[in-house]
């Protein structure tokens, strides 16, 4: 694969990964907000669980970012 193809593929791939984890984060935070609204006394626990879940979702984009950083050297 030559440089120009990679130059198109890297940002596209990263963007696609970001779309997926954006949707995932939106769903997770929606659920968290709903739960917090229904049960304000459990906000602390819900928030902790939500942040941990968000970290796992976000990690997928980070993996894409790392792969794209590695591929940047090959352009």
């Amino acid at each position: 694969m030559d440089g120009s193809t990679l130059g198109l593929a890297i940002p596209l791939g990263l963007g696609m990964a970001a779309i997926g984890s954006g949707i995932g984060l939106g769903k997770a935070i929606e659920g968290g907000m709903n739960a917090m609204g229904r049960q304000p006394e459990a906000i602390g626990q819900i928030q902790t669980a939500m942040i941990i879940g968000c970290a796992f979702i976000e990690a997928l984009t980070i993996y894409a970012l790392i792969v794209s950083i590695l591929l940047m050297g090959k352009i």
Partner: protein, 380 residues
């Protein structure tokens, strides 16, 4: 607060952590460069590193190779190094130290060319490097992350040790309140996850949070550099430290038999015993992946944020350069200003996430009945 007086061990834990971290740093540095250069380049670069870090080379390098995860790792660090080398390369192209960048680029060229370099904000060391000959500058650049993490660790250790003597619950002042706020907040957080036994793990986890948080923030300080934005040097060391700590706790709390039983998925019926043969390697793999995913997450986030900031600085400077027609000593447009707030947020959240995940990993290894019981007593 009686609790604060007892927790004078926290700075000690921090110092110990920093020492382990530096040892890890040197170990992580050595195999990566050793494996990448052994075939192609001469002994000169490695020899140079050896003279630069007397403490690191004496340590058992073979031990990291013996570690199951480390063998996974050498390939990853091997690939990650070119990206790191190119940051210096891009900077060198800007004219600060062209020669050093050339040498560095040659060292990093095994990754297959060096086209897309990542911009990075110059740190205090960059100016020292510009004054040094190429080889020394290269060696210094390799040690950039350990140096900055050591600086942060020293600042924190001195700060907390000097603070520990002054605190007194009977004469609360502003400092007392601030420290109690930090400690109480972290302790409360760990308690909701682990239960009352979180008390035992708070020194390590709290130090982890404070250290990562300050390291992250150091990237936004002028002339600073966040050492958490490099994988092989800092974040993998932190991940390994957490991994060893968690495994130590797991062995201590469950015993060797309980540890293996937990690894097999805690089987109860005959069917589950049958499946445990399949589950065992899966659980082992899961344990080994944990430190890598932890450290990759931290590295990716902080590196991405620093790169974003540097890109904005470059953009601002470039626009100003166009406007003034290349006048010297004109400050750029501070386009990075809005991203500082994003950076502050992300620094806090990433430090919190690393610590929380470490807490969860500990909680997963604590004996089940105990943990469930604590969980219920904490439900509302």
């Amino acid at each position: 607060m009686q609790r604060m007086r007892v927790d004078r061990t926290a700075p000690l834990a921090l110092l110990l952590g920093a020492a382990l971290l530096i040892a890890g740093v040197c170990l992580a540095e050595e195999p990566a460069h050793g494996s990448s250069h052994e075939a192609t380049t001469t002994a000169a670069p490695t020899e140079h590193v050896a003279t630069q870090e007397p403490a690191g080379t004496g340590e058992p390098v073979a031990a990291t190779h013996g570690e199951p995860a480390a063998t996974h790792e050498t390939t990853a660090t091997h690939e990650a190094t070119p990206a790191h080398g190119e940051t210096a390369d891009a900077h060198g192209a800007a004219g600060a130290h062209g020669e050093a960048a050339g040498a560095h680029g040659a060292a990093a060229a095994h990754g297959g060319g060096h086209g897309g370099g990542m911009p990075h904000i110059p740190s205090a060391l960059t100016f020292i490097e510009a004054k040094l000959p190429a080889e020394q500058a290269e060696a210094l650049n390799k040690l950039k992350d350990p140096i900055f993490s050591l600086v942060v660790a020293l600042i924190l250790a001195v700060f907390f040790v000097s603070l520990a003597g002054k605190l007194d619950a009977r004469k609360p002042g502003r400092t007392q309140m601030a420290v109690e706020l930090i400690f109480g907040g972290l302790y409360g957080l760990f308690t909701t996850i682990i239960g009352p036994s979180a008390r035992r793990y708070t020194p390590f986890l709290g130090s982890l949070f404070v250290f990562i948080f300050c390291n992250n923030l150091f990237g936004m300080v002028p002339l600073g550099h966040s050492s958490t934005s490099s994988f092989a040097n800092t974040t993998f060391a932190l991940g390994m430290l957490t991994f060893l700590y968690v495994q130590g706790i797991a062995l201590k709390e469950n015993g060797i038999g309980g540890y293996l039983f937990h690894m097999a998925g805690s089987p109860k019926t005959g069917m589950e015993w049958g499946f445990s043969l399949l589950l065992f390697p899966l659980h082992v793999l899961g344990e080994l992946i944990k430190p890598i995913s932890l450290s990759l997450r931290l590295f990716g986030n902080i590196f991405g944020e620093d790169t974003l900031m540097a890109t904005m600085v470059l953009l601002g400077a470039g626009i100003m350069f166009k406007i003034t027609g290349g006048m010297a000593l004109v400050p750029g447009i501070p386009l990075q200003l809005p991203f500082y707030f994003l950076g502050l947020l992300s620094c806090t959240i990433q430090a919190l996430v690393f610590t929380l995940l470490a807490t969860v990993y500990i909680a997963l290894w604590l004996p089940h009945g105990h943990h469930a019981e604590e969980g219920h007593s904490h439900g509302h």
